[in-house]
């Protein structure tokens, strides 16, 4: 078991270190997220009440498109010198390779989220600072499923010619229920009086389904 955890950690480490040294994915995800938020702020210029109403959708839309950018590059590093073939020749189960790639992407996405949330609250002048830990928790639960399915679809589309378009085409409809649940859960935290428990349960169900099936599906997908 320790061997499997070490392999998962090492794959995630390799992706995060690679991204840090190349200044590739994280910086572009951050710039993109900031650009989206600034454009929304300038375009709508909402008052405080309106901003609180817009906040959940805005957060999740920014998060979705930012993750799409990261997901498009999950397997890009594996194209170098047959690295993906090397990964598949590892003596760990293929599901472990998936989990390593997912962990790496999850770390980068969560990092972006942690920077994105305070920036959004400041830009839109929404005073829900007391709810920040709960919002972060909801975003995290949603991100587990979003990145889980996303990494699987990225593996599926990696050899396609227009893979980024294809990835978006597949990811957007498949994550729609998860996004709706995420938006409703954050809305419940921003606007008191709404019950968020059913939406959080739905998020957890999607996480469990996506993350239980994805490692198995990945193993089947990469076998030639």
């Amino acid at each position: 078991m320790l061997i499997l955890w070490r392999a998962i950690y090492r794959i995630a480490w390799k992706d995060v270190v690679g991204d840090w040294r190349r200044r590739a994915t994280l910086s572009s995800m951050l710039f993109f997220a900031i650009a989206v938020l600034v454009i929304f702020q300038v375009a709508f210029d909402p008052d405080r009440r309106e901003a609180a109403r817009l906040l959940p959708g805005l957060l999740w839309v920014t998060l979705l498109f930012t993750s799409l950018m990261g997901l498009g590059r999950v397997f890009q590093g594996e194209e170098e010198d047959g690295a993906f073939e090397g990964l598949l020749l590892a003596s760990v189960p293929r599901g472990v390779i998936f989990l390593g790639k997912w962990m790496g992407n999850l770390l980068l996405t969560v990092l972006v989220e942690l920077l994105l949330l305070p920036l959004t609250l400041v830009l839109f002048n929404v005073d829900v600072w007391g709810q920040v830990p709960a919002i972060v928790a909801v975003l995290f639960v949603g991100t587990l499923g979003l990145t889980g399915l996303g990494v699987l679809l990225a593996a599926m589309t990696q050899s396609a010619r227009s893979r980024e378009t294809l990835l978006a085409l597949l990811l957007l409809p498949l994550t729609a229920p998860l996004l709706i649940a995420g938006v409703q859960a954050v809305a419940g935290l921003v606007q008191p009086g709404l019950d968020i428990a059913p939406w959080v349960r739905l998020l957890v169900i999607f996480d469990v389904v996506y993350l239980a099936l994805a490692p198995w599906a990945f193993g089947w997908l990469v076998a030639e």
Binding site: I3, R6, A7, Y9, R10, I11, K14, V17, G18, R21, R22, G77, E80, D81, G82, A83, E85, G86, L87, L88, L89, A90, S91, V92, P93, A223, E224
Partner: protein, 219 residues
């Protein structure tokens, strides 16, 4: 019982049949060299032996383990160095070897990794990202993985390409030691002069069939 045993292996890409009933058995300490024209199926056979391709038809056992049932265990007993070196350009040689060790469940200490890098003559480049390496240096580093563990099977696809004289001598010496320790080597090569230095059995691939030493080869 042979360490490597392949029976009735067939492989198709779509409708194109590349391998047509391959039989191969190699005892411990033997080196089989696959010869044949481009497109004769040498690389496909190596990809099947490495488990990279799924078995379509036939049986393949390594050290008594059937690949169809124990793919992960078979992968832990082989090393494949092909046209690609499977190295990450943003990592240093040590980091690349550490990555390989962790993905193969090897508990290689830092000193073992360093010794492997030194053994392939790359000690001066220990802290450099691999992306700056020449093709020959990358090949040496890829082969350094052999020093981290003792696999049963070593698969090599054109191993002499990009290696200088010193590299070729080092590789032949490493292969000889590996064979003496009881491993099996299967390599594809177009370089008969360099292979001549090694004790080996030549196998010829022609129209999807494998002809062993002494077998009549259709002209």
């Amino acid at each position: 019982m042979p360490l490597l045993s392949v029976q009735g292996l067939h492989h198709c890409f779509g409708r194109h049949r590349v391998l047509n009933g391959i039989h191969l058995a190699l005892e411990a300490g033997n080196c089989g060299v696959l010869l044949g024209a481009n497109g004769s199926g040498k690389s496909t056979l190596l990809a099947l032996l490495s488990t990279r391709f799924r078995l379509q038809q036939g049986h393949y056992h390594l050290a008594g383990l059937a690949v169809a049932e124990h793919g992960d265990m078979v992968r832990s007993r082989l090393l494949f160095v092909g046209h690609h070196t499977h190295l990450y350009g943003h990592l240093t040689p040590l980091e690349n070897l550490l990555f390989f060790a962790d993905l193969h469940g090897l508990s290689a200490a830092g000193t073992v990794l360093r010794e492997a890098v030194v053994a392939v003559g790359l000690e001066k480049f220990m802290e450099q990202p691999v992306r700056w390496f020449s093709a020959g240096m990358k090949k040496r580093l890829a082969l350094a993985r052999l020093l981290l563990f003792q696999p049963d099977l070593l698969l090599l696809d054109e191993p002499y390409s990009a290696l200088d004289q010193q590299g070729v001598a080092w590789l032949n010496e490493t292969i000889s030691q590996f064979l003496q320790r009881g491993g099996v080597v299967v390599m594809a090569s177009h370089d008969p002069e360099r292979i001549a230095a090694l004790p080996h059995q030549p196998f010829r691939l022609h129209r999807g069939q494998l002809y062993g030493p002494g077998e009549a080869f259709p002209c």
